[in-house]
Amino acid sequence: MLIHLIQTVIVMAISILVAYLLSKPIATFIKYEKDLPYNNLNKIENFLFKFLGINKENSMNYKEYLLSLLSLNIIFIIFDTIFLMFQNHLSFIGPSYKGLSFDLAFNTAISFITNTNLQHYIGETTLSLASQMLVIITTMFIGSSTGLASSFAFIRGFIRKSNSLGNFYVDFIRSLIFLILPISIISSILLIFMGVPQNFNPFYTVNSFTHQIIYSGPIASLESIKLLGNNGGGFFGSNSANLFEDPSNLSNYFEMFLMLVFPLSLPLAFGRILGKKRGYTLLGTILISMIIIIIMAEFIKPVGVISYRFGNYSAILFNSVSMLTNTGAVDTSLTAMSFSAIIAFLFSMFIQSIPGAIGLGFMYLFVYIILTLFILGLMVGKMPEFIGMKINPRDVRLSVLVFLTHPLIILIPTALALTMGYAYHVLGSINSYTYTEVLYEFTSAAANNGSSYLGYIGNTVFFNISTAIVMFIGRYLPIGLMLAISQSFSMKDRKKGLEPLPTEGFLFLAILVFMIFLLVVLTFIPFVIIGPLSW
């Protein structure tokens, strides 16, 4: 018990410490949308921008920003789909697996670009190493950098008065080149030291006292970005349960750290710009909500030992952190999880922002903040305001739309899958357990999480196409709406002086935690009652 507490405290402390260090460059990238205050970085990025044709001075409004973001992402969707469909012809490193069907290739492409990493296939027996590198690894970087970049633009709306949010390509390149890629390289090296393989051999055939095929490949280079970018898609079908992805309990905790570090750095970066206390309040909100979820996940113990090298506690903690950060990686199968753990995971994905995925999670937190402040303002007889900026009906409308999107794209396809017989087709029977699997599938897709009960059995036209649509809407519609919210704030007058009800400090933290859970519980509790709660 005590050792688990110590392990948890250590991994959280280190994550927060590194997040704190990371928040400094992040805050710099947010604040200095044009020239950076560092000459060396300026030289590097100016060279890249010139090479890529990017004009730093061209600041975009939210529509242009969204359109640029979509243009880049759609190119990858097209390329990934085509490459996976024709991987047998295009792969320069084997094995020469056959091309994927259109629906599976399309699902996989959307899945990775949207930072979801839902996998309706088994990596080691489906994808060539060329596909793993050019499609999977590359797209993981693009998806996560897109998320981080959009959060830069989003935060900018709150810090200065302007009618634009910055340049997407600038934010994207900075996220990728100065933050995600270098940390990914360092993390990969550390993972290699912990035993994660990194080679170009697709497999070894062993014929000795055992007979087995050991699949391998450039796993470390995938593993780091899988976790650091909150992607979650495994090299192997069994994800981090496979020892090549996560060899020891030490690496297990290291992987938790990787998942947490970016999501936790954003509230701190926000605090660096708009007042440290405000940043700590949001971080505190996230941490307390995380603790609630983790306690729920660990509350009912699973049957038997679910992982020998991690132990039950660490195995469940990894999965909880993975769902809280919307990474979607698992170090033990979901089927081994108790019902309380599954409820905790579902709620992590319903909430999406404690801390949520890189970039996006922090943006979702603002939707809760706006809705909370609105009700709070009414309760004290003040028009709601955030950091001296008035919240107007348009902000409330946009926030309500973001909040509304999530249940819509989870519940409607779940009901469709169940009533139209698609779920029955793959699951054999419909009961509270298999229903939960379907609910989980669409929740995971909508939250861009990627963990799944179905896995490769979800490889049907219906599930491939429906989850692809859900992932796409679940990613880009909220980004668009939230960038619009940010732009709306960026154009507001900023009042100096005291807030009527401070948006920092313990009272606000408590209210915010309460409201986050209240709103989500009210929306989703019936579906949990007929699901895991009646197993």
Partner: protein
């Protein structure tokens, strides 16, 4: 206006009833109240399910009829509360409007008067109003002056004197004299009409927070529609075959924020109605919202913070004159001064128990007054009979020093003048003492925020009369209330910075605009607005009009000029500037009431889920019984109990909606915590208790064990 209100307060229940039934029209609800629109649709659907055969289990017809009826009542209670509050508010405003009814007006046409109906008058036209007649329309006086009876508007029984240029309100009565009035407002566009428009839910333009709240409530309703609709299909596929549309509608209506949705119109109307009750006319809902949101308020010093007129508080003798001499000289200098300042000097002498002998009064009465004028800036008296004065002094053996002065001038045959006035206007002639000595005292007086007047007999400085501004009683509380509510008061005054600062700090104000010119008020409004602040400006003069128009909330006094009242978006019929706290309180109360009932409504859902959902599921999955934490009797009683609670909570809260949630000036934190405990926690717990009780009663009624 007491009589009139009482007349109207005999509610016409028949009219309210018919109005509330008319408002159940789905088209009206779809436009004005999305939540109740869904409820009434639910009623229609369940009704059809009962009428059309084979839609519901045959042995449960009564149960479904009951569900359907609770839906109807929930919607009807809502429209009833709206009709009721509209009626109440209209009655209140109508009491102002009766004086705008059609009368005969004497319109000026080509130099003669034509009698026309008041309703035909247009702005710019001129009318004559004779003694005893009623002013036909809002307008301003172009000729004549009169006392007007405005008691029907203000409730003040004392008639108000109005002069050329002043604004007159349609419906008020001319008590004496004759007025020529130019009409400014078209029928239907006067203050009262604007107010009337605000109390009709359908016509009222919604304020920002109301729009936002409607969005939030529609969003929540939409979520619950999706939740219950998908739940229906999922339950069907999970084998809960008995679940039908009626049960799902019951769940939906239980979850939707029907309490706030049902009471929202009533809260808004009642809020405006409360303002009317306090004799405040709001021309727009936006102004009410802005008042609740104010950060800065500009207060005129004179009339708001201080009594308006300075009063003498002290005599400071100079050149060894004794205090009685200074008093006598002051008396003489002020004898003909009819201003309040002048009177306050006489009052001061009396309060000092200094008796002015009859001889002195005789002398004063026989002397020639020297009137104050803007160039000399002093006033006083010219003694026409110095010999008599001399005789009295010698006889009374007081103020022997005067003898010398009087003899000196008398001998030269010069007149003797006793003057009081601005120090700089008189000091240059003084010969008996050094200017520096006077200036030293003047400075000391000034530092205390007081105003010195120099008292002289010809070239001899005798003393200094100290005048002081007096704070209005209760103003300190007003200022501290404002500060507690987070509003920064700014004092605007024409006084010098020193005096202004002293008065301000005495009242508790930190921010002052001194030596203010009319344009400064406007500039301050703009400056604060550019910082993002919401500004309240108050005023009554034409000079104030630009600032009143620019401010987020411009409050004009009813006693003020026409221009001021046109520019303002609120008018205080009682013309009491310190009542601004009341305006802010009432506006905040409107928001707080909305917020509290919204919180209550949402908090209700937590418990309603536990009362209704497990009971719907229990037939299909007996395991779920563990969620029936209240041990409700049967699914039917539980669902019905929840529905009944859902419906009756609306009329139960009508009094609260009309009265408003208690609001007092305090730190927002306190307000929040109190309201959260009462309406949040209370809102989550109340349904448990209430539904359990209703369930027990239903079980007894239906004979279920």
């Amino acid at each position: 206006m007491g009589e009139i209100i009482r007349f109207h307060e005999k509610y016409n229940l028949k009219k309210i009833f018919f109005d509330s039934i008319l408002k159940l029209n789905p088209v009206y609800l779809a436009k004005n109240n999305p939540v109740m629109f869904v409820v009434i649709l639910g009623f229609i659907v369940t009704l059809f399910m009962i009428i059309i055969p084979n839609q519901i289990p045959p042995n449960q017809t009564n149960f479904y009829i009951a569900v359907s009826l609770t839906l109807f009542f929930a919607a009807w209670f809502s429209t009833f509360s709206e009709a009721f509050s509209e009626y109440e508010a209209k009655a209140r405003v109508d009491s102002l409007k009766v004086f705008e009814k059609e009368i005969i007006a004497h319109k000026l046409v080509n130099d003669h008067y034509v009698d026309v109906k008041s309703t035909t008058l247009k702005p710019g036209e001129r009318v004559l109003v004779r003694r005893g007649e009623v002013v036909p329309m809002d307008g301003f006086i172009i000729e004549g002056s009169s006392y007007l009876d405005e008691s029907m508007i203000t409730g003040e029984s004392e008639p108000v004197f109005k002069n050329k240029g002043d604004h007159v309100i349609g419906g008020t009565k001319v008590i004496e004299g004759e007025l020529k009035i130019e009409i400014t407002a078209e029928r239907g566009r006067s203050f009262v009409d604007k107010m009337i428009a605000l109390v009709s839910q359908a016509k009222r333009p919604k304020s920002q927070s109301e729009i936002s709240l409607n969005i939030l409530l529609s969003g929540l309703s939409l979520i619950f529609i999706v939740v219950t609709a998908t739940l229906y299909y999922i339950l069907k596929s999970l084998g809960y075959t008995y679940v039908n549309i009626a049960l799902i509608i019951a769940l939906l209506v239980a979850l939707m924020p029907t309490t706030i949705g049902g009471l929202l119109p009533a809260i808004g109307i009642a809020g405006i109605s409360r303002l009317t009750r306090d004799n405040i006319i709001a021309k727009s809902g936006k102004a009410i919202e802005a008042a609740s949101d104010a950060d800065v308020i500009l207060l005129d010093k004179t009339g708001t913070i201080t009594e308006g007129n300075r009063a003498a508080t002290e005599f400071i003798p100079l050149d060894n004159f004794d205090i009685n001499c200074v008093a006598i000289a002051s008396y003489l200098a002020s004898f003909n001064d009819n201003t309040r300042e002048g009177k306050s000097i006489i009052d001061l002498i009396e309060s000092m128990k200094i008796k002015i002998p009859g001889e002195i009064i005789d002398i004063a009465m026989m002397s020639k007054p020297i009137e104050f004028n803007i160039n000399t800036r002093y006033s006083g008296i010219e003694i026409s009979n110095p010999a008599k004065l001399l005789e009295y002094i010698k006889k009374g053996k007081t103020c022997l020093k005067f003898i010398e002065i009087i003899e000196k001038y008398g001998n030269k045959n010069e007149e003797i003048k006793i003057l009081k006035g601005a120090v700089d206007s008189l000091i240059n002639n003084v010969t008996n003492i050094k200017k520096e000595d006077i200036n030293k005292i003047v400075k000391e007086v000034g530092e205390k925020g007081e105003t010195p007047l120099l008292l002289v007999i010809n070239e001899n400085a005798i003393g200094i009369i100290v005048l002081k501004d007096k704070l209005k009683p209760g103003i300190k509380n007003v200022i501290s209330d404002l500060k507690i509510m987070g509003i920064t008061p700014v004092m605007v005054t024409g006084d010098n910075p020193l005096t202004a600062k002293v008065i301000a700090s005495e009242a508790g104000i930190n921010s002052v605009i001194s030596q203010a010119k009319p344009v400064d008020k406007l500039n301050k409004v703009q400056e604060e607005q550019s910082k993002g602040h919401v500004v309240i400006a108050m005023g009554d003069g034409t000079n104030d009009a630009p600032a009143l128009a620019k401010a987020d909330v411009g409050v004009a006094m009813n006693s003020g000029t026409r221009a001021a009242k046109e520019a303002a978006n609120m008018i205080d019929l009682d013309s009491n500037p310190s009542r601004v706290v009341k305006i802010i309180e009432l506006s905040k109360q409107l928001l707080v009431t909305r917020g509290a009932i919204t919180t209550f409504s949402i908090a209700n859902d937590i418990s309603k889920y536990f009362t209704i959902l497990p009971m719907i599921l229990i037939l299909g999955d007996p395991k779920i019984a563990y969620l029936n934490i209240l041990h409700l009797t049967t699914p039917e009683t539980a669902i019905l109990a929840t529905m009944i609670f859902n419906a009756i909570i609306i009329p139960a809260l009508i009094p609260l909606a009309l009265r408003g949630v208690k609001y007092k000036p305090e730190a927002p934190r306190k307000t929040f915590i109190r309201n959260f405990l009462i309406y949040g926690i209370g809102g989550a717990l109340l349904p448990f208790v209430a539904i359990k009780l209703i369930d027990i009663m239903l079980a007894i009624l239906m004979g279920v064990k």
